[in-house]
């Protein structure tokens, strides 16, 4: 049987996570607009060569993609405004909200004082948003190659595609968990989690931080 504390943590986590992911009325649309505003604040705009906008795509697709990034190479456009346009469609709820919900559920479920949990939520949300910016940057860069805003060799194009795939796949589980561990825990928490036989791995106060301590049985 699972010890009491891990069981309580898992139950709290599961309840909060499911509650955050339930389809609350109007939330999906609101988050989509927030994500567009957030991305647009950093990336939207125009230069002599390019124009980039965030918008909501038309609702005639069965796919739940609620955010569109429109990328235009002005040098390829005709006088009447027609020409190649690159649309990057994605589901802001899946890309943005689900990883945030996982991080929030992990932090809220962690048995720590609420002051620390709130600080962890704030720093964690900041870290996640920086990651979203990285994802958008790579995705926009990748799409820009299709309309000659950026020229890459086939090798680098393939590498960029793989990087984009990796950034998306890490959003579901690994990244929120990694951020949760970094923003929530301190050395004394790790000592509390670990059995006393292994606490010397974290005895940086005695041995000096930056040097690896030997594991000593107590």
């Amino acid at each position: 049987m699972l010890p009491k504390q891990p069981k309580a943590f898992l139950c709290r986590f599961a309840v909060v996570y499911v509650l955050l992911l339930l389809p609350w009325p109007g939330f999906r649309e609101a988050y989509g607009e927030y994500f567009q505003a957030f991305g647009g604040m950093i990336f939207a705009g125009q230069t002599e060569r390019s124009e980039l906008t965030f918008e909501t795509p038309e609702r005639n697709s069965p796919l739940p993609q609620d955010t569109r990034v429109v990328i235009v190479n002005k040098t390829l456009m005709n006088y009447d405004g027609s020409g190649p346009v690159r649309n990057l469609d994605f589901d802001a709820h899946a890309v943005g909200w689900k990883p945030l919900a996982l991080l929030a559920a992990l932090v809220i479920a962690t048995p720590l004082p609420w002051g620390r949990r709130i600080r962890a939520l704030a720093f964690g949300a900041l870290a996640m948003h920086l990651y979203f910016l990285l994802f958008l940057f790579v995705a926009i860069w990748n799409e820009s190659t299709e309309i000659s805003l950026l020229l890459l060799t086939p090798f680098w194009k393939s590498a960029l595609n793989e990087l984009k795939t990796m950034l998306v796949s890490q959003l579901s589980l690994c990244l929120p968990v990694l951020i949760w561990v970094v923003v929530t825990f301190r050395r004394e928490d790790m000592i509390g989690i670990l059995n006393s036989n292994f606490t010397s791995s974290f005895s940086t106060a005695e041995k000096g931080y930056g040097r690896k301590g030997r594991c000593e049985a107590q």
């Binding site: 699972l2 010890p3 504390q5 891990p6 069981k7 943590f9 898992l10 986590f13 599961a14 996570y17 499911v18 992911l21 739940p64 899946a94 689900k98 996982l102 992990l106 793989e162 990796m166 796949s169 890490q170 579901s172 589980l173 690994c174 968990v177 990694l178 561990v181 970094v182 825990f185 301190r186 050395r187 004394e188 790790m190 989690i193 670990l194 059995n195 006393s196 036989n197 292994f198 791995s201 974290f202 940086t204 106060a205 931080y209 930056g210 594991c215 107590q218």
Partner: protein, 178 residues
């Protein structure tokens, strides 16, 4: 200022070290994914999952056929892709156990049991998605994208936390006995 920084780093340093090791193991997945033998192994896993799912579905009375990694019948077809192999959840779980400071005689059974549970869960996922596709096709996208992804995330984290709890309790019992 320097003292504050030293104090902060002394508290956070061990956490950063553990997180860095974990991140390195996760990134290693993408290096392995480029290797041909990994690609073949993943293909084998996907086809095996599809075949076993089809066999079990037929035992339940469904009349499914299997072609490579596609399970199909007159009403519905489902293709088990590499993204549906749950390898990323398995890698996450194994990386968490490897990084956690605990002796290997405790990690190895944890890895074997946890990986087996995740693979069985993935098999159940494939089978349930086929059944939903046949009997409740309108619910397929919700079950596939929303429900099963949450279940696998909770399962991966749950197995990790359960193993940590077991490894800790085993240590405490041994130190009490000593």
């Amino acid at each position: 200022m320097k003292v504050l920084w030293h104090s902060w780093f002394a508290r956070k340093g061990p956490v950063f070290r553990m997180a860095t090791k974990f991140a390195a193991l996760i990134l290693a997945y993408y290096v392995f994914a480029l290797l041909p033998f990994f690609e073949r192994a993943l293909n084998g896993l996907v086809i095996s999952t599809a075949r076993l799912a089809s066999y079990l579905l037929n035992l339940l009375g469904e009349q499914s056929q299997i072609i490579e990694n596609t399970i199909s019948s007159g009403q519905f077809a489902i293709t088990v892709l590499k993204a549906c192999s749950c390898v990323e959840f398995v890698w996450f779980y194994c990386s968490a156990l490897i990084v956690f400071p605990s002796p290997w005689p405790r990690k190895i059974p944890g890895i074997l049991i946890g990986v087996s549970i995740l693979l069985v869960l993935n098999l159940i996922r494939v089978m349930s998605l086929y059944l939903v596709g046949v009997h409740f096709p309108n619910a397929f996208d919700t079950v596939h994208e929303d429900i099963w992804s949450v279940i696998l995330i909770i399962a991966s984290l749950g197995l990790t936390v359960a193993w940590i709890g077991w490894a800790r309790r085993d240590d405490e019992q041994k130190s009490d006995a000593a």
